[in-house]
């Protein structure tokens, strides 16, 4: 019963006024490219043991994507060789130029935030930050960097944030939504304070592995299950941050949920409000209904785009979330990439279109 009308063409694109893409994945093109930015001690350990994380394989994600390209667009393999997302020239030709990307926010998915050896993890995060500047945001001013930190060593994370203070190439602090503890816990607050003091939002991008099982019933079997669980990891971030009272303590903190979709946001807000109303006694530190914190402190990137059976239902979802909360993203070069020309199957009015494709992100990141 899908709508058979023509794909909707974004006004932001038609008007050539530029798009902000909040989720672009750069990767290294050759071994040793990242470790050259590490002190010798950590480079040696990285090259000898690798970044050991909570998953069974080396060289393959725990849930293989079972698609041609194992998770990447087949046409995104650069003609010069190397992995998709490893060649800036090709990224310009395939993404930035033809789609009118005025700004693109890099999500390097630093493995440093998941590494068992937290010293090595901090070194990997620092190297990821230097590497982004040297290889990407330095040569290409349209690209902006994520300040990668290792959340389970908050001291190291705060130091890394301080090290790049005032550097306009970094537009957000990046941590994964899968950590050793629920991310609203006090142990993480120094990171949030450091980010808020520098007016940087915290971005949490879905992660292919983490220390805990990906469901409350243990590990699932298939990628089609795991991919949905990405949204769960972000729901848990929203829940924990609101219910632990983070925003009462750090009222200027802003949080971006990246690559978890957004259809789940209204139902979570409704459910949180009900639970808060019922359990006010144990949540005395949460002063207002949870959905109000969501409406004020959280943003969501649009990819992977929600595709209701009836495209117009998406307008209900956007109404419930708030059009000012959504920020367009492509997830280039991954298999479920959203092309800004076709991502929305329903017509948005001009103001909403401009908000989602550029204005919301420009405001959040302070881009002009």
């Amino acid at each position: 019963m899908a709508d058979t009308s023509q794909p909707y063409v974004s006004q932001a694109r038609v008007n050539h006024r530029g798009i902000v893409d909040c989720d672009i994945h750069p990767v290294t093109s050759k071994p040793g490219e990242l470790s050259q930015f590490m002190p010798k001690r950590w480079a040696d350990i990285f090259n000898t043991y690798g970044a050991r994380v909570a998953q069974p394989f080396i060289g393959m994600v725990p849930y293989p994507r079972m698609t041609a390209g194992n998770g990447s667009r087949l046409d995104a393999f650069p003609p010069t060789g190397g992995a998709p997302g490893s060649d800036l020239t090709f990224m310009r030709q395939q993404l930035l130029d033809p789609l009118g990307i005025e700004y693109g926010v890099l999500q390097p998915l630093s493995i440093g935030s998941q590494t068992f050896d937290q010293g090595l993890g901090a070194a990997i995060c620092s190297a990821s930050n230097e590497w982004q500047m040297a290889m990407w945001t330095g040569p290409e001013p349209r690209l902006k960097a994520s300040l990668c930190v290792t959340q389970d060593d908050p001291d190291a994370a705060v130091a890394e944030i301080a090290r790049h203070a005032g550097n306009p190439q970094f537009v957000q602090v990046s941590i994964p939504p899968r950590a050793n503890e629920p991310l609203g816990r006090k142990r993480y607050w120094p990171i949030y304070r450091a980010a808020a003091e520098r007016n940087l939002p915290i971005a949490l991008h879905s992660a292919a592995y983490g220390p805990g099982a990906n469901s409350g019933s243990g590990w699932m079997s298939y990628y089609i299950e795991e991919h949905y669980a990405f949204a769960h990891s972000l729901q848990s971030v929203v829940t924990s941050m609101v219910m632990e009272g983070v925003f009462e303590e750090i009222p200027s903190l802003r949080v971006i949920c990246v690559e978890g979709g957004f259809a789940w946001v209204p139902a979570l807000g409704w459910r949180l409000d009900r639970a808060w109303e019922r359990n006010r006694d144990e949540l005395a530190h949460v002063k207002r209904p949870p959905s109000e914190y969501m409406r004020k402190h959280f943003w969501y990137t649009t990819q992977p785009m929600e595709e209701p059976e009836h495209p117009k239902h998406l307008l209900d979802t956007i109404r419930w979330i708030g059009g000012d909360r959504l920020m367009f993203s492509t997830d280039y070069p991954h298999w479920d990439f959203d092309d800004p020309r076709q991502a929305f199957k329903v017509r948005l009015d001009d103001e909403l279109d401009q908000a989602i494709f550029r204005n919301n992100a420009k405001a959040v990141f302070g881009l002009e």
């Binding site: 698609t67 629920p182 409350g216 949905y228 639970a275 949540l283 929600e306």
Partner: protein
């Protein structure tokens, strides 16, 4: 967020809906009512000598096995005016009659007794206590009140033993469903559990999945949450996980007549899940070649959901149901004595007028074939 129109958009398609209200007529079928087991000692007459001795031994000092998911004194666990002066809410048949069956003019109520027996890690302990609970349910409730029906509770730690218990207890047609918790050792679609689904399909017993956790794994991918409110919010994730697990593992390809009832799930999370997995399936269907049709259709065919609680606010309920794309899948429930509503207005506000009778009567009858046998 709760239903405030956004400056850019307005709700379209007005749908005639009902206010929060008493039931408009008698004869509703309550698909989730919770009689309470007073305590493990109530099971002693239904245990064999070995387990009776064992339970007497380990119960020294008033040990209990309440489910951690429902702390007895927590607000959710019992509505204030349904709490008796002594004992547990839902523990007394006279009160169940006067507070639920009579005022709501219930024709049948399906009893889902929640207790730690289903959450035991020891497979033998779990099986023994579940068996005793089922016999206690028949003797103490079903024999005394003809409006009651019940779910067969099982421990999943030994699926073959669970299948045996289902076959034994299902000889009594007043048992209409198999009950399991929403969060356990493994996702419920796993093939280790298929002996249960084989017998359930053969005996026309739906699988009821009720909120609750063995606490075997953290509720979140980042560990255990701090507050009971967070735990309850995360039950929705547990239901979503199981929904996907059932069809991703191929349960319905193997057992095409099997139905799953999601009980006390909150409902409103479902449309987003249907959209996401249907889209993903188009992209990665080679991973799960036994799935032959779009997951949203599989969900509408095989899943049913009880309507207490219904998380969406009244103004938006009809939109959420429109997104689900079917009113065949909702089942009336009081969730007695859990505190989901106040007064006699058991019907959540905002249900489409045209769907109310289906939800109260037709859908439950279609979901539970054994209800039609009397």
């Amino acid at each position: 967020m709760a239903g405030r129109p956004h400056q850019w958009l307005r709700s379209s398609d007005e749908i005639p809906t009902m206010p929060r209200m008493k039931l408009p007529y008698s004869g509703a079928i309550d698909c989730d009512l919770h009689p309470a087991l007073p305590g493990t000692e109530s099971l002693l007459p239904y245990l064999d000598a070995y387990w009776r001795d064992t339970m007497v031994m380990i119960m020294k000092g008033n040990a209990r096995m309440e489910l951690n998911s429902y702390p007895p004194n927590a607000p959710l666990t019992a509505r204030p005016d349904w709490r008796p002066k002594q004992g547990k809410a839902g523990g007394d048949l006279a009160q169940v009659r006067s507070q639920a069956l009579d005022p709501f003019q219930i024709k049948f109520a399906i009893c889902n007794c929640l207790y730690g027996a289903m959450a035991a890690y020891n497979p033998d302990l779990g099986a023994a206590l579940c068996r005793a609970m089922n016999d206690w349910m028949a003797a103490e409730w079903l024999d005394k009140e003809p409006r009651l029906r019940a779910s067969i509770v099982v421990s999943l730690m030994d699926p073959d033993a669970a299948a045996e218990e289902i076959e034994r207890r299902a000889a009594d047609k007043r048992f209409v469903q198999v009950l399991m918790l929403a969060a356990g050792e493994m996702p419920l679609g796993r093939r280790a559990y298929w002996p249960i689904y084989r017998i359930a399909e053969r005996l026309k017993l739906p699988i009821g999945v009720h909120a609750g956790s063995m606490m075997r794994h953290a509720q979140t991918q980042s560990g255990y949450v701090s507050y009971h409110a967070e735990d309850y919010v995360h039950q929705a994730q547990a239901f979503a996980t199981q929904t996907i697990s059932f069809f991703a593992e191929g349960v319905f390809a193997k057992f095409p007549e099997l139905r799953v009832v999601l009980i006390e799930s909150g409902v409103s999370w479902l449309p987003g899940l249907m959209w996401r997995v249907s889209k993903d399936w188009r992209g990665v269907r080679t991973e799960v070649p036994w799935i032959k049709k779009i997951p949203a259709d599989i969900i509408r065919d095989h899943f049913r959901l009880t309507i207490q609680p219904l998380d969406a606010p009244p103004d938006e309920v009809a939109r959420v149901l429109d997104h689900i794309g079917s009113d065949d899948i909702l089942l009336f429930a009081t969730d007695y004595p859990h505190w989901q509503f106040d007064g006699d207005d058991v019907l959540p506000a905002g249900l489409p007028e045209q769907s109310v009778k289906k939800i109260l009567i037709d859908n439950p009858l279609a979901t539970y074939p054994r209800l039609q046998e009397g």
